[in-house]
């Protein structure tokens, strides 16, 4: 796949959503559903790799790029991730004084809520592929609870899941 096209697809996902992981639904629609360039498992793996390290939530785009086109793809993912950030500068200069207008705030907050709904919908088919037995459902539920209701870092949640899998592999298999 041409890198320019990949960049445009990534940029479309990032530039039309608010929040790093909110772009997942748009990206899945393009790469998994429409073009079949990636599987749900690949996408989940990329999110996991992004969540396992430091940095912003949108870093998973680098992993997606790497899975699709190696190191050049990762560079494209990184470029697409950072490009929209510079849009804020004209905003600081021009519309900063209007940022508290009710209509604008209402539009932002409504689309942010909708992006959460989209994220949930995008995760349904991914979950169907990933949660194939009781242990994995338990790991997902425990991860949800720890991540939602404690301040424990995501890297520890992932490490605990890996240890659980390792113990399961040794004991059961």
């Amino acid at each position: 796949m041409k890198l320019v096209l990949l960049y445009l697809l990534f940029l479309k996902a990032m530039a039309t959503t608010f929040g790093g992981t909110a772009s997942l639904a748009v990206l899945r629609e393009d790469l998994v559903v429409r073009h079949g360039l990636l599987t749900d498992r690949d996408l989940n793996l990329a999110v996991t790799a992004g969540r396992s390290g430091p940095g912003p939530n949108g870093i998973y785009l680098v992993s997606v790029g790497y899975l699709m086109a190696g190191v050049p793809g990762a560079c494209i993912g990184w470029l697409a991730m950072i490009t929209p950030a510079f849009v804020v500068i004209p905003l600081v200069r021009i519309v900063g004084a209007r940022a508290d207008r009710p209509r604008l705030l209402g539009a932002i907050r409504a689309s942010t809520a909708a992006s959460a709904g989209l994220l949930m919908a995008a995760m349904v088919p991914i979950a169907r592929g990933a949660l194939t037995d009781g242990l994995l459902v338990g790991v997902a539920a425990a991860s949800f609870a720890v991540f939602s209701f404690t301040r424990i870092d995501s890297v520890w949640v992932i490490a605990a899941a890996a240890v659980t899998g390792l113990v399961s592999a040794v004991v059961v298999h």
Partner: protein, 180 residues
């Protein structure tokens, strides 16, 4: 303001903190406003508000906005690059490691557990977006937007961009007494 000082701060905040944007924002607030006094609290608040209405990864927009206040475009570019490039390299290494794990049966079980954990955390990420907006007076609009977007995508396969555009339009006219 020296670019090296800006680079050093954003390099540390962006790459040595786990947990995404909230943790990075908290680190930068302490350094920029409280310790170094490079920005006032009002400047910091403006950057934070505008980063929220900027598409893409909000924390990178926040880095660009605060660094632009310190050293204009040069500062913004340096801050965004140093805050994200090392993490990006690390993400590539982790992705390579995860792909390599698919060789043996025990590795597959470990990877399956890690992927299941990611599913749980992504659901949690959605919950953490919604949770602060479930308080009066905006809770009803929030529920309608979340459920509507979920159904529109999962049942009717409406384009996510169209869904977000409609949500923004509805939000602009469905006032719930927004407070900045």
């Amino acid at each position: 303001m020296r670019l090296t000082a800006i680079a050093a701060l954003f390099l540390r905040a962006g790459n040595l903190t786990f947990g995404g944007g909230h943790v990075i924002t908290a680190t930068l607030q302490r350094e920029l406003v409280n310790r170094r006094r490079w920005l006032t609290l009002d400047q910091y608040g403006l950057a934070q508000s505008l980063a929220k209405i900027t598409p893409g990864t909000g924390i990178l927009a926040f880095c660009a906005a605060t660094a632009w206040m310190l050293a204009r475009w040069r500062g913004a570019i340096v801050a965004v690059v140093v805050a994200s490039a090392p993490s990006a390299v690390f993400a590539v290494v982790l992705t390579w490691a995860f792909v390599s794990l698919t060789g043996s049966r025990p590795s597959q079980v470990v990877l399956a557990a890690v992927l299941a954990s990611a599913v749980g955390m992504m659901w949690a990420a959605a919950w953490l977006i919604v949770q602060p907006m479930l308080t009066p007076p905006a809770w009803l609009r929030t529920v309608v937007m979340v459920v509507g977007a979920f159904v529109a995508l999962s049942r009717w396969s409406v384009s996510p961009i169209a869904i977000l555009a409609v949500a923004a339009l509805i939000g602009a006219f469905w006032s719930s007494g927004e407070a900045p």
